[in-house]
């Protein structure tokens, strides 16, 4: 009897220990996200900013108990701004680390390379910042994108100019990158529909550093507005050469602006416009957004911009989709993302995806009102806001 009793007790203890062990194991077992981004190479300014925003969210989410009582762990891998490296990293994270999903790229070229892998291997892929339209082309099943597509930005620029000056003449100057070509395609498509004309279009090869001659050619075409889109420091060169030639700042509309490049334009650019999806100067920033800005500024000595915000928001979108799926299963997570209807915690802008994974689109145009280059601070006010459906113009046909 005593022996039998002892056996029962031991068996009971074993069951309890096993159960406890399983529970602990689950609690300690993180949900892994493969975060493949640009930490070195020409796009590293963007990837590093993205990682910084994501890390703030990761710390907050895990500090508040994680997801489904498990930590959310971002495995960050550098893709060296190289599509081949991006795919190699995606494969390794999929097969070795068994991540729930992929995320992280901020360059369209790298995101497109990972898109192929994700779609083929049925691996959810949430792109935080990459705007080339084909990332959510019709038939896309596993890829979702937080950033509005770049052809749509071009559409929005034309709508903004139409509202500012009906019948205006617009000049385009841009570096020959996929992102810039997409923006220009949107402007050119929408311009006649908005009764605008394109007075000059100048394309610079990658690595350009001077626009003196082209700025004078644009001057000769006598446009009302100029849309300059230089890559990296070249953006500052174009902006300053236009100002040297007598263009007024409020004739210059930068399709996008993030903190470092806005500061790079310099104080003389005060009065010019830039497009953005999040800005510390917006009235619509929520208390959570204010906290994010404060924490980011304390850590990196500059306010965050839309890149950091999209990557911060990406972590929260992942959290919410996992909670809705109730499990870390890839297919269920994908379905939860597809059905998600939520808002950005930092700005209350709605987040929902269409059947191809494209987000309902929006953009702010801000006007620079002041700048302190030394302190890396600027002031801007909202000049225009627009929301639109992803396929308001044929975005997937305009650029391939």
């Amino acid at each position: 009897m005593e022996v039998r009793h002892l056996k029962i007790m031991l068996a009971g203890a074993a069951v309890v220990a096993l159960a406890a062990g399983t529970a602990w194991g689950e609690a300690a077992d993180p949900i892994k996200v493969g975060f493949v981004t640009e930490l070195t190479g020409p796009w590293s300014f963007s990837g590093s900013s993205c990682e910084a925003g994501m890390r703030l969210a990761e710390a907050r989410i895990n500090g508040a108990g994680g997801v489904l009582k498990r930590p959310l762990k971002f495995l960050v891998v550098d893709n060296q701004t190289n599509p081949t490296q991006a795919v190699a990293a995606a494969r390794s994270l999929d097969t070795q680390e068994k991540v729930l999903l992929l995320s992280g790229p901020t360059s369209s070229d790298n995101a497109l390379a990972m898109y192929g892998y994700a779609e083929q291997n049925q691996l959810p892929f949430l792109v935080p910042v990459a705007a080339f339209p084909q990332l959510t082309k019709p038939g896309t099943q596993w890829t979702f994108r937080l950033e509005p597509d770049a052809v749509g930005w071009g559409y929005a620029i034309a709508k903004f100019i139409e509202q500012k000056k009906p019948g205006a003449k617009v000049a385009l100057m841009y570096s020959d990158f996929a992102l810039m070509r997409a923006i220009a395609a949107g402007v050119k498509y929408q311009a006649p529909l908005s009764k605008l004309s394109v007075s000059a279009e100048i394309i610079f090869p990658q690595g350009s550093s001077d626009a003196t001659i082209q700025a004078t050619q644009v001057r000769a075409s006598n446009p009302d507005f100029i849309v300059p889109i230089g890559a990296g420091g070249f953006d500052n060169t174009i902006a300053n050469q236009l100002l040297d030639l007598g263009f007024k700042p409020d004739q210059i509309i930068h399709p996008f602006g993030f903190t470092t490049n806005i500061i790079g334009w310099g104080k003389r650019s005060v009065g010019s416009y830039f497009g953005t999806f999040f800005d510390a100067n917006l009235d619509t920033v929520t208390p959570e957004g204010r906290e994010f800005i404060k924490d980011f500024q304390a850590k990196f000595n500059r306010p965050p911009s839309y890149i950091e915000n999209f990557c911060y928001t990406t972590a929260y979108v992942i959290k919410e989709a996992i909670e809705k799926a109730g499990t870390a299963d890839r297919a269920k997570f994908r379905d939860a993302l597809r059905a998600l209807k939520t808002k950005e915690g930092t700005s209350n802008v709605p987040i929902e995806f269409d059947k191809n994974g494209a987000r309902k689109e929006y953009i702010y145009y801000m006007q620079l009102t002041d700048m302190d280059v030394a302190k890396k601070e600027y002031k801007a006010k909202k000049a225009f806001y627009l929301e639109w459906a992803p396929e308001v113009i044929p975005v997937y046909d305009l650029v391939k």
């Binding site: 070195t40 690595g207 003196t212 001659i213 990296g232 470092t260």
Partner: protein, 294 residues
């Protein structure tokens, strides 16, 4: 002031050709001095060209050093760096037959190492490389506003080129260097310390390439890709001008700068970046040993 569009474009073409040509010429002169003397085809010249503005940018933006002082510090720092490279690597091959191939492979390796270092270190700020101007504002050339800083860069480049030309022609070291250019053995028999001249030419050539990089960053914005484009341009100028010919580097550098500016006006910036390479092929078809071959 009313501005005639054609006049504006014309002046912008001339000034662009001048500034770009002078910087091309200066950088190619640095490359050709080293090649002519040591027989070292420096594949890392583009990376050295880029190193100077990157360090200048860090000194001015990162440490807040005044731009003129920072530029002088960068030039001064280039000398011990070049000395170290010559001591550790270059001089080991002085007596190796066909050392130009060894040098080319070594400098290719240096190129890869430096580009990896740049990518890992400065890469994350690649959207912010704008060096504060040494001279702010614009200067009007007729109706055309040209940044004063760019005029200063042009002035410095032309002064350096003139000084280089005069030094090679009239200074004792310059004469010794030209003697080694022409015949190493004969120069040695006439009492020239050939190894010393090798060291001097490497220091001089590297400093001139550094100066080219500094002036480029005064005139233009830049990114990491400028190392490749300038490295190729400097080689092309050296080959067309005649390897070892500083006069060739000067003439062809200016020619390439103007070709790029003119093509930029009448075709597009993309065609312009290829134009000087096409010009190189054409000239070499007519004069395979270069325009100023020794």
């Amino acid at each position: 002031m009313a501005m005639d569009p054609n006049l504006l474009v014309g002046i912008s073409m001339v000034t662009t050709g001048l500034v770009l040509g002078a910087i091309f010429a200066l950088t190619a002169a640095g490359v050709t001095i080293v090649y002519g003397c040591i027989w070292l085809p420096n594949a890392a010249s583009g990376q050295l060209f880029l190193l100077a503005p990157l360090v200048l940018w860090s000194f001015t933006i990162g440490f807040g050093i005044e731009p003129v002082l920072a530029a002088l510090l960068v030039l001064a720092a280039g000398l011990p760096l070049a000395y170290l490279v010559e001591r550790l690597l270059i001089r080991r091959f002085y007596d190796v037959p066909d050392r130009n191939i060894s040098y080319f492979v070594i400098t290719l390796g240096i190129t890869q190492i430096l580009s990896g270092i740049f990518s890992l270190t400065w890469g994350r700020w690649s959207d912010q490389y704008n060096v504060p101007p040494l001279a702010a504002g614009v200067t009007f050339i007729g109706p055309f506003p040209l940044p004063t800083n760019r005029i200063l860069a042009l002035g410095c480049a032309l002064t350096l080129l003139a000084a280089l030309f005069l030094a090679l022609r009239y200074h004792r070291f310059g004469r010794a260097l030209r003697a080694v250019f022409q015949n190493r053995e004969a120069a040695a028999l006439r009492g020239v310390d050939v190894r010393r001249v090798y060291l001097g030419s490497f220091l001089l050539g590297t400093s001139v390439i550094f100066a080219g990089g500094l002036l480029y960053s005064m005139a233009y914005s830049f990114d990491l890709s400028v190392a490749w484009s300038m490295g190729i341009a400097a080689f092309a100028i050296m080959i067309v001008g005649g390897p070892g010919s500083v006069l060739g580097a000067l003439v062809v550098g200016m020619l390439f700068g103007f070709v790029q500016a003119v093509v930029s006006v009448f075709a597009s910036p993309t065609v312009a970046t290829l134009s000087y390479l096409l010009a190189m092929l054409l000239i070499l078809l007519l004069r395979p040993s270069g325009l100023f071959a020794r």
